[in-house]
Point group: C2
Chain length 243, copies 2
């Protein structure tokens, strides 16, 4: 971990990579304290600001945390699913917005992944998950809801479904896919009829999940995907025709 050739590239990036590798390989374990900035500077033969830049890089990825004071320093962070999800969501959102991913492609990925969770959710969901889904359906049926609020509730509904699978790995992965769709969904205007159809399908999903019926859940999700794709297509077509 000490190696650091006097090569061309950024020293702080090299140092950050060395420490990151040490963490990944198990050379540094969770909650272990790293040497102080001054000691690291001496080890790598660089100045303290350079070490600090390296540590900030790692902090940005939640790999370490810092603490001030006498017994302070940089500590290897336990990367929790809760901490990783916001980053995953941010990255996924930016990937979609910066790469001109079509609504169709993003929607397809989202529903394909969500269907992967459906049978598990039907088998394992707790009453809490079901209650959240019902509550979001109720919110979606409120009149006067803005399109954005409707989409936000839609996201909450689907995240409850995913969480119902009781698998943190799935919840983490899906968080990105589901949340990242929200900006795309916000480009769509929902008529009252559109909302009614979506709410009906949401109710179908909740019913199937409550009954523990994975196959029916799958079918309802597929129907919802078709509905969403059709809706988006008509909205975009109308917008293209108007301009």
């Amino acid at each position: 971990m000490k190696i650091d050739p006097d090569n061309p590239a950024d020293l702080s990036a090299q140092i950050a990579a060395a420490i990151r590798d040490a963490i990944i390989s198990g050379g540094l374990i969770v909650d272990e304290r790293l040497p102080s900035e001054a000691e690291l500077a001496e080890q790598f033969d660089v100045s303290r600001p350079t070490v600090r830049e390296a540590l900030k890089r790692l902090a940005a990825q939640s790999l370490i945390r810092t603490q001030r004071g006498a017994t302070g320093g940089a500590f290897v962070n336990r990367l929790s699913f809760e901490a990783a999800q916001p980053q995953q969501i941010t990255t996924s959102t930016l990937l979609l917005s910066m790469n001109a991913v079509s609504f169709e492609t993003a929607c397809e990925a989202r529903y394909a992944l969500e269907r992967a969770c459906a049978p598990l959710a039907a088998a394992r969901r707790t009453p809490d998950h079901l209650a959240t889904m019902r509550a979001e359906i109720h919110r979606q049926s409120q009149p006067g809801l803005t399109d954005e609020a409707f989409c936000a509730s839609d996201v909450a509904f689907h995240r409850a479904l995913v969480d119902g699978a009781g698998n943190p790995v799935l919840s983490y992965q899906l968080a990105g896919a589901v949340e990242a769709m929200q900006p795309l969904m916000n480009m769509i205007t929902f008529t009252a009829r559109d909302r009614a159809r979506i709410i009906a399908l949401h109710t179908d999903i909740a019913d199937a999940v409550e009954a523990g019926d994975g196959a029916t859940t799958l079918a309802a999700l597929t129907a919802l995907e078709t509905e969403t794709q059709d809706l988006a297509q008509s909205v975009f077509a109308a917008r293209a025709a108007r301009s």
Copy 2:
């Protein structure tokens, strides 16, 4: 974006958050040049090293890139799927290793997600994907292959399957789930008989994908998951009994 109260938390983190928000909200567009470090320092009323720490945080997330020289500076980066995948893999791997996720849970998530890609891969795979899958199967059947090399080939095979779906969003999400399993798979020893069974199932998958048969692909994937879970269970049970 200029706001930055003299509050408690790290200035560099606040500045990084401000710039990140500007990028996410569209206030800064791709390839746009940020003000120079000196200008940012003046804008936020902090010193240049503090600004630099903030920029390094953003660079660690691939949100910006820096360039030296006369027309250099920090530029908003186009976050590509290729650049985001390694980070996703690192994060997923650490999440599994630091949170005592059981083999069963991780394996379940991986195959659930992979099944989500199967029908699409069967419909859209190119000859390239198919050739990669066949090549990896061939490699797996080589005698004298170490367990680690066998696992690495397994990962390559499954990534080719996922990429066959032709959906970058899926490929990105699945990269984390598939690669992160590798350290867990490396804890397993494979007998010749185990390998033969896995290779046979891989062949079934490749055949089904070649035939464009999504349902058969799904069935083969499910059989492979069962095989993998059983194998892991017996290995862990034997290990527990021996100690």
